[in-house]
Structure formats: structure tokens, C-alpha cells
């Protein structure tokens, strides 16, 4: 089986699972407990936070709130923008931000949606035109999960703060963290990361926040995470996240170059008569989004599935959700929007897998085109 759907989730890293299993089997205590065993775990969670933060910023100006998922972290970020004024998001956001924004709009908040460019990046000019003195929160994802488009969040945050100095800037970094080289700057107030996209397990993610920035809890209860995220900490998942990320960041730059080369090679090898690319060359190399004319992506997905190649699609065969909202927002024509596939790689993807995938893809698409002629 060749797995090229790593933007959906990745295989949990085996070494980290092994190393963290002690937190399931022996160090199972409640980190809030007052006895030594509990307190030790509390310290280990703090250490995991510092460690994870160190991968993305050298400064100690940031905190990390562990959440159960990237979606939860995004929800918490957005709900912190509703105290006053308006919120500005964009059409390219993952459902975790987009649907939350829609819900806030439904509840009567002034929510504005910026348009996209054809490769999935935010149309910055349009975004800035939506911002005014009353803007309370702006959310722009770092790497688009469907097209891989990279938004220059530093630059955007800078422009946003000039127009609205009090605005909070949030970025969903789930597809960036552990994949592309990036250092957080103080312009970014909130940043979402997730474990399971880089070899961690599901059930843990985080919201990074500037220390001097006040945020309200989204989930209430026993006051864990300094009152910002209640619920007994998932020590195992947190530590496994830490270990998996540590491994990931150790080779991040070398992996990036390797995947960049695979991506370039794949673009070159996929039959240009059949595939056209939605991802621009400046996109994250970990995501390659392509459109196939006249073919419904889910049909191809089934054929590839039978041949042992697992990929993602930007559309489905169901009569609802036929097209991806994000792909349509890139103003891609409907006949192409039906045939959107997403190939997404992990640091462990090999050249052999890429070669086989290219062959299966070229062969399957031309056969299918022939069958449907």
C-alpha cells in the first residue's frame, strides 16, 4: 500500500509510541494530584510545552495550551474574537475555522470572508480591505490543507496590525508545523498546531499564544492548563506528541528538500495531457493538488484504492458536497473542480513510492478516460 494522504493524518511514529507508553502503563497518575507521582507528571507536561515551543520559537514569550484537536484550538481562538467589532477570515480556511466563523455569523456577529487567489492563497488586498479599526480578530491559515498554498502570515499580520492595532492575529498552522521552516514572530498572537499530522497520535493538539495576550477558556471545568483548557491532561498523547515532533524537527530541513524534489519530480512525471496542477510551485511541497478534466475524483479514488494507492480528493460522489468549497473559491471551473485530487506526503515517503504512484496514476487516469469516452 502506498499512502499519499498524509495531510489527512499520518502513521504515528513507532519510536515515540514506545517511548511514551510508560505514560499509559506506569505513569498513569492524574497530573493535578498532590502526591509526588502526580506532580512529577505536571512537570513533565510543562517540559513538553517548552520543548514543543522551542521547535518554533527561540523566545520564551509564548505559552502553549494543549487541546484535544486542532479544531478545538481553532474554535477557542475564534471565540476569543467576538467580544467586540468584527472578525475577518477567508474562504480558504479549514472547516475548523470556516464553519466556526459561519456559526458566529449565524449568531449575529459581523464576520467577513476574504477571497482567494487561484492557487489557494488569501487575496491579501481583499483581506486588508475588509479590516477596519473595529476588527477584533483576523485568522489566516499558514498552509492551506487542500492546495498547500503558503500564506505569508508574517507579512499579512504586519499589514493587519497597521490597520487595526488592537486586532488579534490567529493562524492555523496545522499543515505547517513540523513540515516547513518557520519561526513565530511576535506579530502572531495565536497559532494552532496538531500532533497527528506529524507522527503524533490523535487526541492532542495545541494553541500557542503570546504570553502577554489574554485569552478566555473555551472549555470550563477543573482549571487545568492554567484555567484555559479544563479536562484531565492526556499525558501519553502529549508526551508522544513531544517525542514525535522532536524527531520531526531534527530532520525538518533535509526532509523538506527531499519532499520538494519528489514534488517537482511528480509534477514532471504526471502526464501533462491528463493532470493540471492547482498547487503553485511556491506551495508547501508536502501537498500536491491536481485537477483532472472530465473525471470525477472519487471514481479515480476507488480505482487507485483497488490498486493499493490511497490519496485524498477535493470532492465527493455524493450529491451533497460535490465540489470542495475551497477549490471553488479558487475560481476553478466546475468541470475541473469535479476532478480534484490531493497527493500529500510525509517525511517517510520514499522515491520508490513516488515512482509507483506516478505509474499507477498515469495508467489509471488514462484507462478511466478511455472507459468513459
Amino acid at each position: 500500500m502506498i499512502y499519499l494522504d498524509n495531510a489527512a493524518t499520518t502513521l504515528p511514529d513507532a519510536d515515540s509510541l514506545e517511548k511514551a507508553s510508560v505514560y499509559l502503563k506506569e505513569k498513569f497518575f492524574n497530573p493535578s494530584a498532590m502526591y509526588r507521582e502526580g506532580f512529577e507528571l505536571h512537570k513533565e507536561i510543562d517540559a513538553a510545552k517548552k520543548h514543543l515551543l522551542s521547535f518554533i520559537t527561540p523566545s520564551s514569550d509564548y505559552d502553549l495550551i494543549f487541546t484535544s484537536s486542532g479544531t478545538e484550538a481553532d474554535n477557542q481562538a475564534l471565540f476569543n474574537g467576538i467580544k467586540r467589532g468584527n472578525l475577518v477570515v477567508n474562504e480558504g480556511e479549514h472547516a475548523a475555522v470556516y464553519m466556526t466563523a459561519k456559526e458566529l455569523k449565524k449568531r449575529g456577529h459581523d464576520v467577513r470572508f476574504a477571497k482567494l487567489l487561484s492557487d489557494g492563497r488569501v487575496d491579501v488586498e481583499h483581506l486588508l480591505s475588509l479590516i477596519d479599526q473595529d476588527t477584533s480578530l483576523v485568522s489566516v491559515m499558514h498552509v492551506n490543507n487542500e492546495t498547500g498554498a503558503v500564506n505569508d502570515i508574517e507579512d499579512i499580520a504586519d499589514s493587519v496590525k497597521k490597520l487595526a492595532p488592537k486586532a488579534v492575529f490567529h493562524s492555523d498552522g496545522v499543515q505547517a508545523f513540523g513540515k516547513i521552516v518557520y519561526r513565530l514572530s511576535p506579530k502572531i498572537d495565536l497559532y494552532t498546531i496538531s500532533a497527528h499530522k506529524i507522527g503524533g497520535v490523535r487526541g492532542v493538539a495545541g494553541l500557542i499564544k503570546r504570553k502577554d495576550f489574554h485569552i478566555d477558556p473555551y472549555i470550563f471545568g477543573g482549571g487545568q492548563e492554567n484555567g484555559l483548557r479544563s479536562g484531565t491532561e492526556n499525558t501519553f498523547a502529549i508526551k508522544q506528541f513531544e517525542f514525535a515532533a522532536e524527531k520531526r524537527f531534527r530532520t525538518l530541513e533535509a526532509d523538506f528538500l527531499k519532499i520538494q524534489e519528489f514534488n517537482r519530480y511528480m509534477r514532471e512525471q504526471l502526464n501533462p495531457a491528463l493532470f493540471s496542477f492547482v498547487s503553485s510551485k511556491s506551495a508547501s511541497p508536502y501537498i500536491l493538488c491536481a485537477a483532472i478534466r472530465g473525471i470525477r475524483a472519487e471514481v479515480l479514488l476507488h480505482i487507485l484504492n483497488d490498486k493499493g494507492l490511497l490519496i485524498g480528493t477535493g470532492s465527493a460522489c455524493s450529491s451533497r458536497n460535490r465540489y470542495s468549497r475551497v477549490i471553488l473559491a479558487c475560481e476553478i471551473k466546475k468541470e475541473l473542480a469535479e476532478g480534484i485530487i490531493r497527493l500529500s506526503f510525509s517525511a517517510h515517503t520514499t522515491k520508490e513510492e513516488i515512482d509507483q504512484a506516478v505509474q499507477i496514476l498515469n495508467e489509471s487516469v488514462s484507462q478511466l478516460a478511455e472507459r468513459m469516452k
Partner: protein, 386 residues
């Protein structure tokens, strides 16, 4: 603790003459099967069935399952007490309301019982009134009714409610049919109607994987499962028509896709019926509902079925009537899930509404019908649903 029993009354079997015994036996069997997995005993004293010694924590489920068995007219949960006027009153006073209007309805099968029905009504009603001053008798429009059934074996059954059964005839008493089950709203309703007349059913589903997905297949299995709640175990035959659709797409006029595909489906259904002992084909077609369900469309698909009747129980129904029934039998919510059962990739924008047989023959002549048919039959998968 007073023992509880479940009474099942049957409907149309009463009308049967000499073969009544056969109908009753099949019905008993179906009732038994419907309670598989729940502790119980079923007896048939006279003119009814009684479930005893059952798992009382699952009473609601038992009633629900029994009500779905075709042949069931109504079901009641009754208290079983010795046929003694004091004991009867004890239980009546326990289940009787404390206020409002009521009526006692006694029925004395045991004619040796000391009181006749009217006397039982008067006795029990009188005592109840004396005990609960806020109660009033109303024999015409009572808010509450309490039924007392004095049986021959020295027991009395006391109950206060009837649950409506599915009605109809016991499944298995009217032969066996093959239902074309698409995943839409209509076909499960058609199957339910025919099974209600006592026909045992198997179902046949066509898919066009990879143009359709696993969710569509799962949806059909869910529908079959809901149907099997009424009709018992059934076989689901699943056949791929992918290559047939591709061949029609390549060789025949676009607007003929559905007309020609329907003919292949009927041929496949005929083969499977003959092979697995179904005596007819059942479809959910309703006259004029969609392009292929015109009289010309039906003529075209009937032409290839030479040896079997095609039953179309919904032929005269409006869509709204079908939906109402689908809701009632519990298939509607599943049917409207948005997974396509047959690929829309190949669906023509303007399907032929009134296909002429000669044009159909002409188009079909461009296909190797026998080879395509055989290939489809080779793809047959059989799933047991229960």
C-alpha cells in the same frame, strides 16, 4: 409479582378455511424468529398467541418486534392472574387511573366462570368507583379502557392497551419474490407492501463501482436490514452493472442509457429469480414518476422478462404517498442519504421518455447482450441479511 404475558391477535388468517392450520403454523414460526435472542415462550391457546416467561426488561422491544410481523393485528401486554374476582380486581385497581372516565370490557371465554361478562363489568367497575371517587364511568367515549379476558384454563388476562400490528398475511404464505432494491425511497416501500401480502422476499441491488461508492452499498444493506425487521431473513444479491453502463455509453445514443440499462437489470433479475427460486420480480416503479417509468418504459423493460410476472405495487401512488409510507416503515431517513446507487456520470441530460421498441432493438443490437449479461452475473455477491 404478578406474571405478565404478551397477547398477539392475528387478522386475516381468520378468513382462511381449510388451510388455516398452515397459515397459523407459518405465522407462529415467524413470531418465533422475530424474538430470536430474547428469552421467551410462545403458546397458542385458541384464537391468539401468547408470549410467556419472557425477559421483562425487554418488554418494549418484544412488543415492537411482534408488531412488525406480518399477520399481527394487535399486541397487548397483559397481567395474568387466577380467574378469581378478587384477584382480578386487585390488578385492575393497580393499573386503573385515579381520575377521569373509564370503562371495563370483560370477555368470558370460560362459560363456567361464576359471573357473566356484564356482571364482571358491573362488579369490577363498581368496586373501582367506590375506591376512586374521582373516577367516572363512560361506556361510549371513555378516556381509559380496561380489558378483562377470562380464559378457559382458570386464568384471567387484564390489560389496558392495544398496540397496532403490521397487519397482512404471514410472510412465506404467498410464495417468494425478488425485489429490485435501489437505495431510493420507493423500492423498500414496494417490498414492504408485497411482503405484507405474505410474500417472502430476496433483494437484488445493482451498483456501478468504481463510479459509485461504498457508502451507497452500505445504505442498501441498511435498507435491507430495516426490511428484514418485517419479513425476516433475506438474501441481498449484489451485481455490478459498471461494464454494461460503459458499453451503452460507448455504443448507444446517450438518451437511451436508462432504457437499455433497465432491460439489462430485468434480464439479470430474471436469471437470479430462476436460479434462486423467486416466482416474480418486484419493483418500486410508479407510473410517470421519472422518465423510465412511463408505460412505454415499462413496456420496454417488460419485453425482456418472458417467464415471470413483474409486480409494481406502487404503480398508482403519488410520491407524497410513497414518502408517507417510507416514513412509517422507517426507511425514509436512510433512503434520502445522498449516495447515488447508480452512477450519475453516465446519466443523460434528456432521457428518452417514450422509447419505441424498434429503436430500442436497434440500439441494443450494437451491444453483445449475452456477454455483458454473463459478465454481470459473474460479479454476483450474496449477502445474508437478518
Amino acid at each position: 409479582m404478578v406474571e405478565k404475558v404478551v397477547i398477539i391477535r392475528y387478522g386475516e388468517i381468520h378468513l382462511k378455511g381449510n388451510n388455516r392450520g398452515y397459515f397459523e403454523k407459518v405465522f407462529m414460526n415467524n413470531l418465533e424468529k422475530s424474538l430470536t435472542g430474547i428469552r421467551h415462550e410462545i403458546h397458542k391457546p385458541s384464537g391468539r398467541y401468547v408470549v410467556e416467561n419472557y425477559d421483562e426488561t425487554r418488554t418494549d422491544e418484544i412488543v415492537q418486534r411482534l408488531c412488525k410481523v406480518f399477520g399481527t393485528h394487535s399486541v397487548s401486554i397483559a397481567y395474568k392472574v387466577p380467574a378469581d374476582i378478587d384477584r382480578i380486581f386487585d390488578i385492575v385497581s393497580q393499573i386503573a387511573p385515579k381520575e377521569g372516565t373509564f370503562k371495563i370490557v370483560a370477555n368470558r371465554a370460560d362459560k363456567s366462570f361464576a359471573y357473566n361478562s356484564m356482571q364482571v363489568n358491573a362488579q369490577i367497575g363498581g368496586r373501582l368507583l367506590a375506591k376512586n371517587p374521582a373516577l367516572k364511568v363512560d361506556v361510549h367515549h371513555p378516556e381509559h379502557e380496561i380489558f378483562i379476558d377470562i380464559r378457559e384454563n382458570g386464568t384471567a388476562l387484564v390489560f389496558n392497551a392495544f398496540f397496532e400490528g403490521a397487519g397482512g398475511m404471514p410472510v412465506g404464505t404467498s410464495g417468494k419474490g425478488l425485489l429490485l432494491l435501489s437505495g431510493g425511497i420507493d423500492s423498500p416501500v414496494a417490498g414492504h407492501m408485497i411482503a405484507k401480502r405474505g410474500m417472502q422476499l430476496d433483494a437484488l441491488h445493482f451498483h456501478s463501482y468504481p463510479y459509485t461508492n461504498m457508502q451507497a452499498r452500505e445504505k442498501v444493506e441498511t435498507l435491507a436490514k430495516i426490511l428484514s425487521g418485517y419479513i425476516g431473513e433475506m438474501k441481498l444479491y449484489v451485481v455490478s452493472v459498471t461494464h454494461i453502463q460503459e458499453a451503452i455509453h460507448k455504443n448507444c445514443p446517450e438518451e437511451m442509457m436508462i432504457t437499455l440499462l433497465r432491460r439489462f437489470m430485468m434480464r439479470i433479475a430474471t436469471h437470479i429469480s430462476n436460479q434462486y427460486g423467486a416466482q416474480c420480480i418486484v419493483t418500486g416503479e410508479s407510473l410517470g414518476q421519472v422518465a423510465s417509468q412511463t408505460i412505454e418504459g415499462m413496456t420496454s423493460s417488460n419485453e425482456v422478462v418472458d417467464s415471470l410476472p413483474v409486480l409494481r405495487p406502487l404503480v398508482g401512488f403519488d410520491k407524497t404517498e410513497i414518502i408517507e409510507r417510507a416514513r412509517k416503515i422507517g426507511t425514509f431517513e436512510t433512503s434520502i442519504q445522498p449516495y447515488e446507487d447508480c452512477c450519475t456520470v453516465f446519466l443523460p441530460k434528456h432521457p428518452l421518455i417514450k422509447p419505441k421498441l424498434e429503436k430500442v432493438h436497434e440500439a441494443e443490437a450494437r451491444l453483445d447482450v449475452d456477454a455483458l449479461l454473463q459478465e454481470a452475473l459473474d460479479s454476483l455477491e450474496i449477502v445474508t441479511i437478518n
